[in-house]
Amino acid sequence: MAEQPPAGAWQRSVDLPSERGASRLVTDELLEQLGAHGWPPDDIFAIHLAAEEALVNAVVHGNRLDPAKRVHVECLISGQLVRLEITDEGEGFDPASVPDCTLEERLESPSGRGVMLMRSFMTRIEYNERGNSVLLEKRRGDPPAAEPPAPGQSS
């Protein structure tokens, strides 16, 4: 069941061409709206990063820069929630098949960090079954998943 969009939320639906640099066609506006909805800089950084990674994945790995294919982006931004749904026209992939880039033997591999960054910086990330569509959510006030335990704050 789709939730009702919160009052005052900004919504946008965009189709992007499958070319390098296309992400800016949506991220510029996204950043502006995040600021307008009072999101703090740390969260804006996280959302920007996740959006960028997801969009580049869709354009480059999903649609393989095929000019005949588009990347469909649904955005919702309110003061409490950011939801981005990014869908490409590729064959999809199994996110579980992406090797863990933090394993010792993969630490110096120059690629394969996008999905991990999205997972760490967002509250929720879900792929559809085919693996050509990703849903990213960030809820206001969530601690970043990657935050190391703060020393001396256990009591």
Binding site: R20, G21, S23, R24, D42, F45, A46, H48, L49, E52, E53, V56, C101, T102, L107, E108, S109, P110, S111, R113, G114, M116, L117, S120, F121, P144, A146, E147, P148
Partner: protein, 143 residues
């Protein structure tokens, strides 16, 4: 259309546009980085606030690699002061650069990293691969 007789746009004598381009290219300095020397250390400032555009990342990679492969620099400090954002594609270039420096038996350190980018390094455990220092002074002292 009025044809002006007797007027001529001055063209460089014997010069063709192609020659001009070539000269410009040869004179071109770095676009993505600023390199200075402090003692034996090459201090490399990253000039882009946001490192995410594919072309910019390719250029950044080429300019960084040339520091090792062309200039043969052995002690390099990458100063991130002013860099607000980078994507995983840029991480790839940094990893390759780090590897090239190590292969050439050089030393690479990094400093001036914003909290957000530091978190990216921590999440991906690249903070274990890169030699990251708090600020310029500490980094320089560590060479």
């Amino acid at each position: 259309m009025v044809k002006l007789q007797g007027f001529r746009v001055d063209a460089p004598a014997g010069g063709s546009p192609a020659t001009g381009d070539k000269e410009r290219k040869a004179m071109a300095t770095h676009q993505r980085i600023d390199v200075s020397k402090t003692g034996d250390v090459s201090v490399v400032r990253l000039l882009d606030q946001k490192i995410l555009d594919e072309t910019a990342i390719q250029e950044l990679g080429a300019e960084l690699f040339s520091l090792v492969e062309v200039d043969n620099r052995k002690a390099i400090l990458l100063d991130f002061e002013g860099v607000e954002f980078l994507s995983s594609a840029a991480l790839g270039k940094l990893i390759t650069f780090d590897r090239k420096v190590k292969t050439a038996k050089g030393r690479l350190k990094m400093c001036g990293i914003s909290p957000g980018i530091l978190e990216v390094f921590q999440v991906t455990k690249l903070n274990k691969v890169f030699d990251i220092r708090d600020d310029l002074a500490e980094a320089l002292a560590a060479f």
